[in-house]
Protein backbone atom coordinates (compact mmCIF):
# COMPACT_ATOMS: atom_id res chain seq x y z
CA UNK A 1 0.00 0.00 0.00
CA UNK A 2 1.17 3.49 -0.78
CA UNK A 3 1.94 5.96 1.92
CA UNK A 4 -0.74 8.63 2.44
CA UNK A 5 0.79 11.32 0.23
CA UNK A 6 -2.43 12.97 -0.84
CA UNK A 7 -1.90 15.93 -3.15
CA UNK A 8 -4.24 18.12 -1.16
CA UNK A 9 -2.36 17.66 2.06
CA UNK A 10 1.08 17.83 0.53
CA UNK A 11 0.33 20.84 -1.73
CA UNK A 12 0.11 23.67 0.77
CA UNK A 13 2.67 22.59 3.35
CA UNK A 14 5.93 22.56 1.42
CA UNK A 15 9.23 22.82 3.26
CA UNK A 16 10.19 26.37 4.12
CA UNK A 17 13.70 27.17 2.84
CA UNK A 18 16.29 27.37 5.58
CA UNK A 19 14.18 25.54 8.16
CA UNK A 20 14.22 22.05 6.66
CA UNK A 21 12.65 19.67 9.20
CA UNK A 22 14.83 16.77 10.41
CA UNK A 23 13.32 13.47 9.27
CA UNK A 24 12.40 10.95 12.01
CA UNK A 25 14.93 8.13 12.42
CA UNK A 26 13.15 5.10 13.82
CA UNK A 27 13.27 1.33 13.41
CA UNK A 28 10.36 0.44 11.08
CA UNK A 29 7.76 -2.10 12.21
CA UNK A 30 8.80 -5.65 11.25
CA UNK A 31 6.39 -7.83 9.31
CA UNK A 32 7.39 -11.48 9.87
CA UNK A 33 3.94 -12.66 8.78
CA UNK A 34 4.58 -11.40 5.26
CA UNK A 35 7.79 -13.40 4.98
CA UNK A 36 6.10 -16.57 6.23
CA UNK A 37 3.29 -16.08 3.70
CA UNK A 38 5.80 -15.61 0.88
CA UNK A 39 7.62 -18.82 1.78
CA UNK A 40 4.40 -20.86 2.05
CA UNK A 41 3.12 -19.50 -1.27
CA UNK A 42 6.45 -20.14 -2.97
CA UNK A 43 6.39 -23.78 -1.91
CA UNK A 44 2.76 -24.24 -3.00
CA UNK A 45 3.50 -22.49 -6.30
CA UNK A 46 6.48 -24.71 -6.98
CA UNK A 47 4.34 -27.79 -6.28
CA UNK A 48 1.70 -26.55 -8.72
CA UNK A 49 4.19 -25.85 -11.51
CA UNK A 50 5.82 -29.22 -10.87
CA UNK A 51 2.57 -31.15 -11.16
CA UNK A 52 1.42 -29.25 -14.24
CA UNK A 53 4.70 -30.01 -16.00
CA UNK A 54 5.21 -33.59 -14.86
CA UNK A 55 1.67 -35.07 -14.70
CA UNK A 56 1.11 -36.64 -18.12
CA UNK A 57 -2.66 -36.61 -17.54
CA UNK A 58 -2.73 -32.95 -18.60
CA UNK A 59 -1.68 -33.98 -22.10
CA UNK A 60 -0.39 -30.55 -23.09
CA UNK A 61 0.27 -31.89 -26.55
CA UNK A 62 -3.47 -32.52 -26.98
CA UNK A 63 -4.24 -29.05 -25.59
CA UNK A 64 -1.87 -27.52 -28.14
CA UNK A 65 -3.35 -29.56 -30.94
CA UNK A 66 -6.94 -28.48 -30.29
CA UNK A 67 -6.44 -24.91 -29.03
CA UNK A 68 -6.61 -23.46 -32.55
CA UNK A 69 -8.43 -26.30 -34.30
CA UNK A 70 -11.34 -25.53 -36.63
CA UNK A 71 -14.26 -26.81 -34.51
CA UNK A 72 -12.95 -25.03 -31.40
CA UNK A 73 -12.51 -21.72 -33.24
CA UNK A 74 -15.97 -22.12 -34.77
CA UNK A 75 -17.44 -22.60 -31.32
CA UNK A 76 -15.43 -19.64 -30.05
CA UNK A 77 -16.83 -17.45 -32.82
CA UNK A 78 -20.39 -18.44 -31.93
CA UNK A 79 -19.74 -17.77 -28.25
CA UNK A 80 -18.49 -14.28 -29.10
CA UNK A 81 -21.29 -13.43 -31.52
CA UNK A 82 -23.98 -14.67 -29.12
CA UNK A 83 -22.44 -12.84 -26.15
CA UNK A 84 -22.05 -9.52 -27.98
CA UNK A 85 -25.47 -9.53 -29.63
CA UNK A 86 -27.45 -10.75 -26.64
CA UNK A 87 -25.67 -8.26 -24.35
CA UNK A 88 -26.55 -5.47 -26.80
CA UNK A 89 -30.20 -6.57 -26.73
CA UNK A 90 -29.92 -6.86 -22.94
CA UNK A 91 -28.35 -3.43 -22.38
CA UNK A 92 -30.61 -1.42 -24.67
CA UNK A 93 -33.67 -3.43 -23.67
CA UNK A 94 -32.68 -2.97 -20.02
CA UNK A 95 -32.34 0.80 -20.39
CA UNK A 96 -35.74 0.98 -22.08
CA UNK A 97 -37.34 -1.18 -19.39
CA UNK A 98 -35.73 0.79 -16.54
CA UNK A 99 -36.92 4.10 -17.99
CA UNK A 100 -40.40 2.63 -18.39
CA UNK A 101 -40.31 1.27 -14.83
CA UNK A 102 -39.46 4.73 -13.47
CA UNK A 103 -41.86 6.53 -15.78
CA UNK A 104 -44.68 8.58 -14.23
CA UNK A 105 -46.95 6.78 -16.69
CA UNK A 106 -48.48 3.99 -14.54
CA UNK A 107 -49.23 1.77 -17.55
CA UNK A 108 -45.61 1.76 -18.76
CA UNK A 109 -44.31 1.21 -15.26
CA UNK A 110 -46.64 -1.72 -14.69
CA UNK A 111 -45.86 -3.35 -18.03
CA UNK A 112 -42.10 -3.12 -17.36
CA UNK A 113 -42.62 -4.59 -13.90
CA UNK A 114 -44.58 -7.47 -15.38
CA UNK A 115 -41.88 -8.16 -17.99
CA UNK A 116 -39.12 -8.19 -15.39
CA UNK A 117 -41.16 -10.46 -13.13
CA UNK A 118 -41.85 -12.93 -15.96
CA UNK A 119 -38.35 -13.10 -17.48
CA UNK A 120 -36.46 -13.19 -14.21
CA UNK A 121 -38.92 -15.65 -12.74
CA UNK A 122 -38.68 -18.44 -15.31
CA UNK A 123 -35.62 -20.58 -16.10
CA UNK A 124 -33.48 -19.46 -19.03
CA UNK A 125 -33.50 -23.01 -20.43
CA UNK A 126 -37.30 -22.96 -20.52
CA UNK A 127 -37.22 -19.58 -22.32
CA UNK A 128 -34.70 -20.85 -24.91
CA UNK A 129 -36.81 -23.94 -25.59
CA UNK A 130 -39.94 -21.80 -25.76
CA UNK A 131 -38.53 -19.54 -28.48
CA UNK A 132 -37.20 -22.54 -30.38
CA UNK A 133 -40.55 -24.31 -30.32
CA UNK A 134 -42.66 -21.19 -30.87
CA UNK A 135 -43.82 -22.72 -34.13
CA UNK A 136 -45.61 -25.44 -32.21
CA UNK A 137 -47.71 -22.72 -30.59
CA UNK A 138 -48.00 -20.34 -33.55
CA UNK A 139 -47.20 -21.98 -36.90
CA UNK A 140 -47.63 -18.62 -38.65
CA UNK A 141 -46.91 -15.10 -37.35
CA UNK A 142 -48.71 -12.20 -38.98
CA UNK A 143 -49.08 -8.45 -38.68
CA UNK A 144 -52.59 -7.14 -38.95
CA UNK A 145 -55.62 -5.79 -37.11
CA UNK A 146 -57.06 -8.15 -34.47
CA UNK A 147 -60.18 -9.82 -35.89
CA UNK A 148 -59.49 -7.81 -39.09
CA UNK A 149 -57.30 -8.11 -42.15
CA UNK A 150 -53.70 -9.39 -42.08
CA UNK A 151 -51.02 -7.36 -43.83
CA UNK A 152 -48.03 -9.72 -43.75
CA UNK A 153 -47.67 -13.26 -42.59
CA UNK A 154 -44.57 -15.38 -41.94
CA UNK A 155 -43.86 -19.02 -41.41
CA UNK A 156 -42.61 -19.09 -37.81
CA UNK A 157 -40.00 -21.71 -38.49
CA UNK A 158 -38.49 -19.57 -41.25
CA UNK A 159 -38.58 -16.40 -39.18
CA UNK A 160 -37.08 -17.92 -36.03
CA UNK A 161 -34.19 -20.27 -36.77
CA UNK A 162 -31.97 -21.70 -34.05
CA UNK A 163 -29.71 -18.66 -34.02
CA UNK A 164 -32.59 -16.16 -33.61
CA UNK A 165 -34.11 -18.37 -30.93
CA UNK A 166 -30.77 -18.21 -29.05
CA UNK A 167 -30.65 -14.43 -29.36
CA UNK A 168 -34.26 -14.00 -28.26
CA UNK A 169 -33.81 -16.33 -25.31
CA UNK A 170 -30.51 -14.91 -24.07
CA UNK A 171 -31.18 -11.24 -24.97
CA UNK A 172 -34.72 -10.90 -23.65
CA UNK A 173 -33.79 -12.69 -20.42
CA UNK A 174 -30.72 -10.48 -19.98
CA UNK A 175 -32.82 -7.35 -20.57
CA UNK A 176 -34.85 -8.17 -17.46
CA UNK A 177 -31.71 -8.38 -15.31
CA UNK A 178 -30.13 -5.32 -16.92
CA UNK A 179 -33.34 -3.36 -16.30
CA UNK A 180 -32.86 -3.69 -12.55
CA UNK A 181 -29.16 -2.77 -12.80
CA UNK A 182 -29.98 0.34 -14.84
CA UNK A 183 -32.83 1.27 -12.50
CA UNK A 184 -30.43 1.11 -9.55
CA UNK A 185 -28.02 3.35 -11.44
CA UNK A 186 -30.65 5.91 -12.40
CA UNK A 187 -31.95 6.08 -8.84
CA UNK A 188 -28.44 6.57 -7.47
CA UNK A 189 -28.15 9.98 -9.17
CA UNK A 190 -28.94 12.87 -6.83
CA UNK A 191 -32.41 14.31 -7.40
CA UNK A 192 -30.88 17.81 -7.43
CA UNK A 193 -29.40 16.99 -10.85
CA UNK A 194 -32.86 16.45 -12.34
CA UNK A 195 -34.09 19.63 -10.68
CA UNK A 196 -31.18 21.70 -11.95
CA UNK A 197 -31.69 20.41 -15.49
CA UNK A 198 -35.43 21.03 -15.22
CA UNK A 199 -34.88 24.57 -13.95
CA UNK A 200 -32.74 25.23 -17.04
CA UNK A 201 -35.68 24.25 -19.24
CA UNK A 202 -34.38 20.84 -20.29
CA UNK A 203 -37.05 18.25 -21.10
CA UNK A 204 -37.32 14.91 -19.33
CA UNK A 205 -35.72 13.12 -22.27
CA UNK A 206 -32.84 15.59 -22.50
CA UNK A 207 -32.27 15.39 -18.76
CA UNK A 208 -32.15 11.59 -18.92
CA UNK A 209 -29.80 11.43 -21.92
CA UNK A 210 -27.46 14.27 -21.08
CA UNK A 211 -27.44 14.48 -17.29
CA UNK A 212 -28.78 11.43 -15.44
CA UNK A 213 -27.71 8.47 -17.60
CA UNK A 214 -24.04 9.53 -17.98
CA UNK A 215 -23.78 9.81 -14.19
CA UNK A 216 -25.67 6.57 -13.64
CA UNK A 217 -23.18 4.76 -15.91
CA UNK A 218 -20.62 4.87 -13.13
CA UNK A 219 -22.89 2.63 -11.08
CA UNK A 220 -24.19 0.62 -14.05
CA UNK A 221 -20.86 -0.39 -15.64
CA UNK A 222 -19.36 -2.72 -12.99
CA UNK A 223 -22.41 -5.03 -12.68
CA UNK A 224 -22.78 -4.90 -16.47
CA UNK A 225 -19.22 -6.21 -16.73
CA UNK A 226 -20.31 -9.00 -14.44
CA UNK A 227 -23.30 -9.76 -16.61
CA UNK A 228 -21.18 -9.81 -19.78
CA UNK A 229 -18.63 -12.20 -18.32
CA UNK A 230 -21.45 -14.35 -16.97
CA UNK A 231 -23.13 -14.28 -20.39
CA UNK A 232 -19.91 -15.54 -21.99
CA UNK A 233 -20.43 -18.81 -20.15
CA UNK A 234 -24.24 -18.82 -20.08
CA UNK A 235 -24.25 -19.03 -23.89
CA UNK A 236 -23.33 -22.71 -23.46
CA UNK A 237 -27.00 -23.30 -22.57
CA UNK A 238 -27.89 -23.00 -26.26
CA UNK A 239 -26.93 -26.64 -26.56
CA UNK A 240 -30.48 -27.47 -25.36
CA UNK A 241 -31.89 -26.24 -28.68
CA UNK A 242 -29.18 -27.87 -30.73
CA UNK A 243 -27.03 -24.81 -31.40
CA UNK A 244 -23.31 -24.89 -30.63
CA UNK A 245 -20.65 -22.65 -29.15
CA UNK A 246 -17.24 -23.12 -27.51
CA UNK A 247 -18.32 -25.47 -24.72
CA UNK A 248 -20.45 -27.61 -27.03
CA UNK A 249 -17.63 -27.93 -29.59
CA UNK A 250 -15.24 -29.06 -26.89
CA UNK A 251 -17.73 -31.57 -25.50
CA UNK A 252 -18.30 -33.01 -28.98
CA UNK A 253 -14.58 -33.56 -29.39
CA UNK A 254 -13.93 -35.23 -26.06
CA UNK A 255 -17.01 -37.44 -26.34
CA UNK A 256 -15.24 -38.97 -29.32
CA UNK A 257 -11.57 -39.05 -28.25
CA UNK A 258 -12.12 -39.24 -24.47
CA UNK A 259 -9.45 -36.54 -23.83
CA UNK A 260 -11.78 -34.80 -21.39
CA UNK A 261 -9.26 -32.93 -19.21
CA UNK A 262 -7.10 -31.48 -22.02
CA UNK A 263 -10.16 -30.27 -23.91
CA UNK A 264 -11.67 -28.70 -20.83
CA UNK A 265 -8.34 -26.90 -20.42
CA UNK A 266 -8.68 -25.66 -24.02
CA UNK A 267 -12.09 -24.24 -23.21
CA UNK A 268 -10.84 -22.74 -19.93
CA UNK A 269 -7.94 -21.01 -21.69
CA UNK A 270 -10.26 -19.36 -24.20
CA UNK A 271 -12.79 -18.29 -21.54
CA UNK A 272 -10.00 -16.83 -19.44
CA UNK A 273 -8.58 -14.98 -22.45
CA UNK A 274 -11.96 -13.48 -23.30
CA UNK A 275 -12.64 -12.57 -19.67
CA UNK A 276 -9.28 -10.81 -19.45
CA UNK A 277 -10.03 -8.75 -22.57
CA UNK A 278 -13.46 -7.85 -21.17
CA UNK A 279 -11.99 -6.80 -17.80
CA UNK A 280 -9.53 -4.48 -19.51
CA UNK A 281 -12.33 -3.06 -21.64
CA UNK A 282 -14.40 -2.51 -18.49
CA UNK A 283 -11.52 -0.54 -16.98
CA UNK A 284 -11.49 1.81 -19.96
CA UNK A 285 -15.26 2.29 -19.88
CA UNK A 286 -15.14 3.00 -16.12
CA UNK A 287 -12.49 5.66 -16.65
CA UNK A 288 -14.62 7.22 -19.37
CA UNK A 289 -17.63 7.58 -17.08
CA UNK A 290 -15.61 8.42 -13.98
CA UNK A 291 -14.76 11.88 -15.31
CA UNK A 292 -15.09 14.61 -12.73
CA UNK A 293 -15.38 12.12 -9.89
CA UNK A 294 -12.66 10.97 -7.53
CA UNK A 295 -11.08 7.95 -9.24
CA UNK A 296 -11.57 5.05 -6.89
CA UNK A 297 -9.97 1.64 -7.41
CA UNK A 298 -11.16 0.14 -10.68
CA UNK A 299 -10.11 -2.72 -12.91
CA UNK A 300 -7.90 -0.21 -14.69
CA UNK A 301 -5.78 0.06 -11.55
CA UNK A 302 -4.32 -3.33 -12.44
CA UNK A 303 -2.91 -1.88 -15.65
CA UNK A 304 0.15 0.31 -15.89
CA UNK A 305 -0.85 4.00 -15.83
CA UNK A 306 0.41 4.63 -19.35
CA UNK A 307 -2.09 2.13 -20.77
CA UNK A 308 -5.13 3.92 -19.50
CA UNK A 309 -4.00 7.53 -19.39
CA UNK A 310 -5.22 8.04 -22.96
CA UNK A 311 -8.74 6.93 -22.13
CA UNK A 312 -9.46 9.91 -19.97
Amino acid sequence: MAAPTDDTTAGGAGPIPGTAPTPIKAVPVRHPGRWIAIVVLAVLGAMLVNTILTNDGFRWDVVGKYLFSGPVLNGLRNTLVLTVLSMLIGIFGGIALAVMRLSPNPVLSYVAGLYIWLFRGTPLIAQLLFWNFLAALYPRLSLGIPFGPEFVSFDTNQLINQFTACLLGLGLNEAAYMAEIVRGGLQSVDHGQTEAAGALGMSRGQTLRRIVLPQAMRVIVPPTGNETISMLKTTSLVVVIGYFELMTSVQRIYSVNFQTIPLLIVAAIWYLALTSVLSIGQGFVERRYGRGVHQGPTGARLLPKRWTAGAK
Partner: protein
Amino acid sequence: MTDNEHGRPMVEAVGIHKSFGHVEVLRGIDLIVQPGEVACVIGPSGSGKSTFLRCINHLESIDSGTMTVDGELIGYRRRGDKLYELRESEVARQRRDIGMVFQRFNLFPHKTAIENIMEAPCTVRRTNKKQARESARGLLDRVGLGNRCDNYPSQLSGGQQQRVAIARALAMEPRLMLFDEPTSALDPELVGEVLDVMRGLARDGMTMVVVTHEMGFAREVADSLVFMDEGRIVEAGVPREVLANPKHERTQAFLSKVL
Protein backbone atom coordinates in the same frame (compact mmCIF):
# COMPACT_ATOMS: atom_id res chain seq x y z
CA MET B 1 -32.52 43.64 -19.57
CA THR B 2 -35.93 43.64 -21.21
CA ASP B 3 -38.01 46.48 -19.84
CA ASN B 4 -41.69 45.92 -20.18
CA GLU B 5 -43.44 49.12 -20.93
CA HIS B 6 -46.83 48.02 -19.61
CA GLY B 7 -45.61 48.25 -16.05
CA ARG B 8 -46.74 44.71 -15.27
CA PRO B 9 -44.97 43.01 -12.39
CA MET B 10 -42.28 40.38 -13.05
CA VAL B 11 -43.66 38.09 -10.36
CA GLU B 12 -47.23 38.21 -9.14
CA ALA B 13 -48.21 35.64 -6.55
CA VAL B 14 -51.79 35.71 -5.31
CA GLY B 15 -53.08 33.57 -2.46
CA ILE B 16 -50.54 30.74 -2.90
CA HIS B 17 -51.36 27.66 -0.84
CA LYS B 18 -49.29 24.48 -0.77
CA SER B 19 -49.49 21.34 1.35
CA PHE B 20 -47.24 18.31 1.58
CA GLY B 21 -49.62 15.60 2.71
CA HIS B 22 -51.32 16.98 5.82
CA VAL B 23 -48.71 19.67 6.42
CA GLU B 24 -49.73 23.05 5.08
CA VAL B 25 -46.46 24.73 4.12
CA LEU B 26 -47.79 27.84 2.41
CA ARG B 27 -50.96 29.46 3.78
CA GLY B 28 -51.82 32.21 1.37
CA ILE B 29 -48.80 34.09 0.05
CA ASP B 30 -49.27 37.35 -1.86
CA LEU B 31 -46.19 38.93 -3.35
CA ILE B 32 -45.42 41.30 -6.18
CA VAL B 33 -41.92 41.78 -7.56
CA GLN B 34 -41.43 44.55 -10.12
CA PRO B 35 -38.97 44.27 -13.05
CA GLY B 36 -35.46 45.16 -11.92
CA GLU B 37 -36.37 44.69 -8.28
CA VAL B 38 -34.36 42.59 -5.86
CA ALA B 39 -36.63 40.94 -3.29
CA CYS B 40 -35.12 39.12 -0.32
CA VAL B 41 -37.12 36.52 1.58
CA ILE B 42 -36.02 35.79 5.14
CA GLY B 43 -37.47 33.74 7.93
CA PRO B 44 -36.81 30.77 10.22
CA SER B 45 -36.23 27.35 8.69
CA GLY B 46 -39.46 25.54 7.92
CA SER B 47 -41.26 28.81 7.29
CA GLY B 48 -41.90 27.81 3.67
CA LYS B 49 -39.61 30.32 1.97
CA SER B 50 -37.77 27.76 -0.17
CA THR B 51 -41.02 26.06 -1.10
CA PHE B 52 -42.47 29.40 -2.17
CA LEU B 53 -39.41 30.07 -4.34
CA ARG B 54 -39.75 26.65 -5.97
CA CYS B 55 -43.39 27.40 -6.74
CA ILE B 56 -42.31 30.37 -8.86
CA ASN B 57 -40.75 28.09 -11.51
CA HIS B 58 -43.15 25.20 -10.89
CA LEU B 59 -40.59 22.87 -9.34
CA GLU B 60 -43.42 22.53 -6.86
CA SER B 61 -47.02 22.75 -8.01
CA ILE B 62 -49.39 24.96 -6.06
CA ASP B 63 -52.68 23.84 -4.53
CA SER B 64 -54.51 27.13 -4.86
CA GLY B 65 -53.91 30.71 -5.90
CA THR B 66 -52.21 31.99 -9.04
CA MET B 67 -48.54 32.44 -9.90
CA THR B 68 -47.74 34.76 -12.76
CA VAL B 69 -44.29 35.56 -14.15
CA ASP B 70 -44.03 38.46 -16.61
CA GLY B 71 -47.76 38.26 -17.26
CA GLU B 72 -47.71 34.53 -17.99
CA LEU B 73 -49.54 32.06 -15.76
CA ILE B 74 -47.07 29.44 -14.48
CA GLY B 75 -47.95 25.76 -14.81
CA TYR B 76 -51.46 26.35 -16.17
CA ARG B 77 -53.30 27.88 -19.08
CA ARG B 78 -56.57 29.74 -18.68
CA ARG B 79 -59.09 29.33 -21.44
CA GLY B 80 -62.49 30.85 -20.73
CA ASP B 81 -62.99 30.29 -17.02
CA LYS B 82 -61.27 26.90 -17.05
CA LEU B 83 -57.70 26.10 -16.06
CA TYR B 84 -55.71 23.53 -18.00
CA GLU B 85 -52.55 21.93 -16.65
CA LEU B 86 -49.56 22.57 -18.90
CA ARG B 87 -47.67 19.69 -20.50
CA GLU B 88 -44.16 18.98 -19.34
CA SER B 89 -42.67 20.50 -22.49
CA GLU B 90 -44.66 23.71 -21.96
CA VAL B 91 -43.50 23.96 -18.35
CA ALA B 92 -39.93 23.43 -19.59
CA ARG B 93 -40.39 26.31 -22.04
CA GLN B 94 -41.58 28.60 -19.21
CA ARG B 95 -38.58 27.64 -17.09
CA ARG B 96 -36.09 28.72 -19.75
CA ASP B 97 -36.71 32.32 -18.83
CA ILE B 98 -36.40 31.76 -15.09
CA GLY B 99 -32.89 31.07 -13.79
CA MET B 100 -32.45 29.22 -10.54
CA VAL B 101 -29.50 28.85 -8.20
CA PHE B 102 -29.60 26.11 -5.57
CA GLN B 103 -28.26 25.88 -2.06
CA ARG B 104 -26.17 22.83 -2.96
CA PHE B 105 -25.11 24.18 -6.40
CA ASN B 106 -26.27 21.05 -8.27
CA LEU B 107 -23.60 21.45 -10.93
CA PHE B 108 -23.32 18.52 -13.33
CA PRO B 109 -20.28 16.67 -11.91
CA HIS B 110 -19.44 14.87 -15.17
CA LYS B 111 -19.04 18.12 -17.08
CA THR B 112 -16.39 20.81 -16.81
CA ALA B 113 -17.28 24.34 -15.70
CA ILE B 114 -17.64 25.57 -19.27
CA GLU B 115 -19.60 22.46 -20.35
CA ASN B 116 -21.98 23.02 -17.43
CA ILE B 117 -22.72 26.48 -18.78
CA MET B 118 -22.97 25.39 -22.44
CA GLU B 119 -25.29 22.47 -21.71
CA ALA B 120 -28.66 24.24 -21.64
CA PRO B 121 -28.00 26.67 -24.52
CA CYS B 122 -26.82 23.76 -26.70
CA THR B 123 -29.56 21.23 -25.89
CA VAL B 124 -32.51 23.53 -25.23
CA ARG B 125 -31.88 26.53 -27.48
CA ARG B 126 -29.85 24.58 -30.07
CA THR B 127 -27.19 27.28 -30.06
CA ASN B 128 -24.17 26.11 -32.05
CA LYS B 129 -21.27 24.86 -29.95
CA LYS B 130 -18.75 27.52 -30.93
CA GLN B 131 -21.07 30.38 -30.11
CA ALA B 132 -22.18 28.73 -26.85
CA ARG B 133 -18.55 28.24 -25.83
CA GLU B 134 -17.77 31.87 -26.53
CA SER B 135 -20.63 33.23 -24.46
CA ALA B 136 -19.93 30.68 -21.72
CA ARG B 137 -16.36 31.97 -21.56
CA GLY B 138 -17.73 35.49 -21.25
CA LEU B 139 -20.02 34.43 -18.41
CA LEU B 140 -17.18 32.71 -16.57
CA ASP B 141 -15.17 35.93 -16.91
CA ARG B 142 -18.12 37.82 -15.51
CA VAL B 143 -18.21 35.68 -12.37
CA GLY B 144 -14.41 35.91 -12.08
CA LEU B 145 -13.59 32.34 -13.14
CA GLY B 146 -12.24 32.90 -16.64
CA ASN B 147 -9.22 30.70 -15.84
CA ARG B 148 -11.32 27.77 -14.57
CA CYS B 149 -13.09 26.75 -17.81
CA ASP B 150 -11.82 23.19 -17.94
CA ASN B 151 -12.04 22.33 -14.24
CA TYR B 152 -14.57 19.77 -13.10
CA PRO B 153 -16.86 20.89 -10.24
CA SER B 154 -15.01 18.55 -7.86
CA GLN B 155 -11.86 20.59 -8.51
CA LEU B 156 -13.51 23.87 -7.50
CA SER B 157 -14.21 25.33 -4.07
CA GLY B 158 -17.80 25.78 -2.91
CA GLY B 159 -17.77 29.47 -3.71
CA GLN B 160 -16.38 28.84 -7.18
CA GLN B 161 -18.96 26.12 -7.81
CA GLN B 162 -21.77 28.45 -6.83
CA ARG B 163 -20.42 31.15 -9.15
CA VAL B 164 -20.34 28.62 -12.01
CA ALA B 165 -23.94 27.71 -11.10
CA ILE B 166 -24.92 31.39 -11.37
CA ALA B 167 -23.18 31.62 -14.75
CA ARG B 168 -24.99 28.46 -15.86
CA ALA B 169 -28.36 30.01 -15.01
CA LEU B 170 -27.41 33.27 -16.76
CA ALA B 171 -26.52 31.38 -19.97
CA MET B 172 -30.22 31.01 -20.73
CA GLU B 173 -30.60 34.82 -20.53
CA PRO B 174 -33.38 34.65 -17.95
CA ARG B 175 -35.72 37.53 -17.18
CA LEU B 176 -35.86 36.50 -13.55
CA MET B 177 -33.34 34.84 -11.23
CA LEU B 178 -34.32 32.77 -8.20
CA PHE B 179 -31.74 32.14 -5.47
CA ASP B 180 -32.44 29.42 -2.91
CA GLU B 181 -30.11 30.13 0.04
CA PRO B 182 -27.14 30.43 -2.34
CA THR B 183 -24.56 30.92 0.42
CA SER B 184 -25.89 28.59 3.13
CA ALA B 185 -23.68 25.64 2.12
CA LEU B 186 -20.51 27.73 1.92
CA ASP B 187 -17.61 28.20 4.31
CA PRO B 188 -17.84 31.69 5.83
CA GLU B 189 -14.83 33.03 3.96
CA LEU B 190 -16.33 32.02 0.60
CA VAL B 191 -19.70 33.75 1.10
CA GLY B 192 -18.36 37.13 0.03
CA GLU B 193 -17.33 36.14 -3.50
CA VAL B 194 -20.81 34.77 -4.28
CA LEU B 195 -22.56 37.81 -2.82
CA ASP B 196 -20.27 40.04 -4.92
CA VAL B 197 -21.46 38.33 -8.09
CA MET B 198 -25.09 38.71 -7.00
CA ARG B 199 -24.50 42.35 -6.17
CA GLY B 200 -23.16 42.83 -9.71
CA LEU B 201 -26.27 41.19 -11.16
CA ALA B 202 -28.52 43.47 -9.13
CA ARG B 203 -26.58 46.48 -10.34
CA ASP B 204 -27.12 45.36 -13.95
CA GLY B 205 -30.86 45.46 -13.35
CA MET B 206 -31.65 41.75 -13.05
CA THR B 207 -34.91 40.94 -11.31
CA MET B 208 -34.08 38.66 -8.40
CA VAL B 209 -35.93 36.80 -5.69
CA VAL B 210 -33.42 35.73 -3.03
CA VAL B 211 -34.11 33.41 -0.12
CA THR B 212 -31.24 34.15 2.25
CA HIS B 213 -29.90 34.40 5.74
CA GLU B 214 -27.45 37.17 4.78
CA MET B 215 -29.02 40.16 6.50
CA GLY B 216 -26.16 42.42 5.39
CA PHE B 217 -26.82 41.58 1.76
CA ALA B 218 -30.54 42.11 2.23
CA ARG B 219 -30.03 45.49 3.84
CA GLU B 220 -27.55 46.68 1.26
CA VAL B 221 -28.78 45.24 -2.06
CA ALA B 222 -32.48 44.38 -1.73
CA ASP B 223 -35.24 46.77 -2.73
CA SER B 224 -37.77 44.91 -0.66
CA LEU B 225 -37.63 42.49 2.22
CA VAL B 226 -40.18 39.85 3.09
CA PHE B 227 -40.28 38.06 6.43
CA MET B 228 -42.04 34.69 6.35
CA ASP B 229 -43.11 32.48 9.23
CA GLU B 230 -45.31 29.38 9.30
CA GLY B 231 -46.29 29.69 5.66
CA ARG B 232 -47.38 33.32 5.80
CA ILE B 233 -45.80 36.66 5.01
CA VAL B 234 -45.65 38.29 8.42
CA GLU B 235 -44.03 41.53 7.45
CA ALA B 236 -42.76 43.17 4.27
CA GLY B 237 -41.24 46.49 3.38
CA VAL B 238 -38.05 48.43 2.74
CA PRO B 239 -35.15 46.33 4.10
CA ARG B 240 -33.58 49.08 6.22
CA GLU B 241 -36.86 49.80 7.98
CA VAL B 242 -37.87 46.19 8.53
CA LEU B 243 -34.44 45.31 9.85
CA ALA B 244 -34.06 48.44 12.01
CA ASN B 245 -37.48 48.47 13.63
CA PRO B 246 -39.60 45.44 12.87
CA LYS B 247 -43.28 45.95 13.61
CA HIS B 248 -44.34 42.39 14.23
CA GLU B 249 -43.22 40.55 17.36
CA ARG B 250 -42.28 37.40 15.43
CA THR B 251 -40.02 39.46 13.17
CA GLN B 252 -38.51 41.08 16.26
CA ALA B 253 -37.90 37.68 17.86
CA PHE B 254 -36.29 36.30 14.67
CA LEU B 255 -34.10 39.33 14.03
CA SER B 256 -32.95 39.49 17.64
CA LYS B 257 -31.53 36.00 17.15
CA VAL B 258 -29.81 36.46 13.79
CA LEU B 259 -28.58 40.08 13.88
